[in-house]
Symmetry: C2
DNA sequence: CTTGACCCCGTACCGTGGTACGGGGTTTAG
DNA sequence: CTAAACCCCGTACCACGGTACGGGGTCAAG
């Protein structure tokens, strides 16, 4: 639970040290307290936050969106109703993503089934997923 | 079912015309036949393919990965066993994405539940999702 | 008390995924 | 038969998300 220097944090989270500074600049990581000589001293849960950011990126969220996600919490300055609305919007986004992924997955499963069933497949069956629904 | 010029295709798929050319260069779209004067004449299902690409991008796939996804199909040059293995790898990727999304969603649901239950929440509850499991 | 590892900051540079530009031919509607 | 609208191609440029560089201070081991 002792504070981490930027190098240790970066190593622990598996990211580049410069990336940590970059996220701080972008506001994804709070500006940490500094030692007398100006070194950043990160709370140990900063590593968790970094890992969250990386995972969320892999799921197609931009850094801006991730920042929004991370700031969803009840506070003095934001009422729970506002938070609730924002969270529900995010949930809808996420559910749409999940549906799309399920759809691709289903298609891929059909594809792996070919070997067993020898069913005929269209030229590029994957195109059959993700049809309809406006952008 | 008549062929589309690049402009019509772009409009139909809701993408920039230059993007179509870019995808063609990147190999995500087959080089289409040309008219006598050199105009591209796309089969009408190219629009579907473009929409697929855009959706897959929103799900965090890079253009390179999308190209791979799109090329998953049985052909003369690729045996079904190879395809099967590739498809199964993609399925595993997708399932991991879905799990991560479900995890974030669950956290967000807890958040929206606050209004009703007035349960105390940690400072930033979203961090609790996506914990553990190596990158 | 020096040497190597680490940190600071600002700025420059890079890969990905486009998007724009510009000089030129083509097609089509009036 | 001409003007608008479209297409060609190559090249330049852009935003995002980093990543590297370089000149300087700091800290810990020998």
């Amino acid at each position: 639970m002792k504070p981490l220097t930027i190098g240790h944090l970066a190593k622990q989270a598996g990211v580049n040290l410069e990336t940590v500074r970059y996220y701080e600049r972008r506001g994804l990581l709070a500006r940490p307290p500094r030692s007398a000589s100006g070194y950043r001293l990160f709370p140990s849960d900063a590593a968790r936050r970094l890992k969250f950011i990386r995972r969320a990126q892999e799921l197609g969220f931009s850094l801006t969106e991730i920042k929004e996600l991370l700031s969803l919490r009840v506070s003095r300055t934001t009422t729970s109703a506002v938070i609730r609305a924002r969270a529900e919007a995010k949930i809808a986004d996420i559910e749409a993503k999940i549906r799309s992924l399920e759809s691709i997955k289903k298609t891929l499963r059909k594809l792996t089934g070919v070997c067993d069933g020898c069913a005929p497949l269209s030229e590029c069956p994957i195109l059959e997923s993700l049809d309809r629904e406006g952008a």
